[in-house]
Subunit: 171 residues, 2 copies
DNA sequence: GAGAAATGATTAACATGTTAAATTATGGTG
DNA sequence: CACCATAATTTAACATGTTAATCATTTCTC
């Protein structure tokens, strides 16, 4: 690699670009909080051979008989391409089942399998226990309040069309 | 693909696994809120050829003369492997400069280049304007309160050792 | 001071995020 | 009915997330 061992960096360059304190930006706060939460769940999911996203899909499917792929994407908050790949994998592992809507052959319809339900039943207790521990630590009321504020944030931004602020391209 | 066209799914399987309403889980709330926020910034960053993570690194670097790679990872909240790849790319684009700490040849030291500062100066105004718009929409006070609650959540979870809840492996 | 243990960084391997393009199936229109 | 626009899904291509393994250097220890 091109790594100089001397100290010839651009020392003289004026270094200040006026911006908010980086570590306190909203995206960073949200990212750190989410990571702190997920760190609690990942080990258990991993023990059962599941990723966070795969688990989201199983949970979404457990609540219903069957759903179209697009609707599942919306429920699990995954983009189409990610979902496509994950469904391929989950189907190969026989955790879900898939058919085609006879009325519209473009649509795929997905449901959880008996094996998938069995896996869920194995994971759910630990997962619920972790969630309960988090709730206890943070406070149930405070947690509910946080969720409301997050939902409100989503709402606030839902109508913010992009491009409201001008911006040139780079070419 | 193995997609049955008939309707022979596992209809009889008992479908209920007792769990909280999925869409209201804390990780999902945090994910959605963060995505709603990032959706505002991504187009502008993209116009300048930057990803969210690359922008985080430049912002972290703009505040200081130079930092070690590990410290930069902590500041930008990136894992080592991600940071390694991104630094390789940013260095190739001459947006950053890199040397090796003479006192400890294991440590890499990174700083932003003049070109990197120039790019930041081009992106910052739009970025700040978007942030201001978000703040106005959601409310400055409410935003500050949200950040406090997120920080508190991090704090609450910081001492939660994993494995506090038993969990068997799958083999 | 030679060799083991530890540390900083990178690489490897696989899963997902993100945007664009391609595929296949519907539906409308002349 | 041929044609074209649209829609649902997948594939492609590249960037990052995540864990494990590797590599180089340093530090500890005898």
């Amino acid at each position: 690699m091109s790594r100089k061992t001397d100290a010839s960096l651009s020392q003289g360059a004026e270094r200040r670009v006026p911006m908010r304190d980086f570590s306190r930006s909203l995206p960073m706060s949200l990212l750190r909080a989410r990571e702190a939460v997920m760190r609690q769940f990942r080990p258990s999911l991993r023990n059962h051979g599941l990723t966070e996203q795969q688990w989201r899909i199983l949970r979404a499917l457990a609540a219903i008989e069957a759903v179209e792929v697009s609707e599942l994407a919306r429920m699990a908050f995954l983009l189409g391409p990610s979902l496509s790949r994950i469904l391929r994998d989950l189907e190969a592992r026989q955790l879900i089942e898939r058919r085609t809507d006879p009325a519209d052959q473009r649509r795929g319809v997905v449901s959880i399998s008996a094996k998938g339900l069995k896996l869920m039943a194995a994971v759910a207790p630990t997962s619920e226990a972790i969630y309960a521990a988090i709730t206890k630590r943070y406070g149930a009321r405070k947690l509910a309040e946080l969720q409301e504020m997050l939902a409100a944030l989503e709402q606030s931004l839902s109508g913010m069309e992009q491009g409201a602020v001008a911006d040139e391209e780079d070419a």
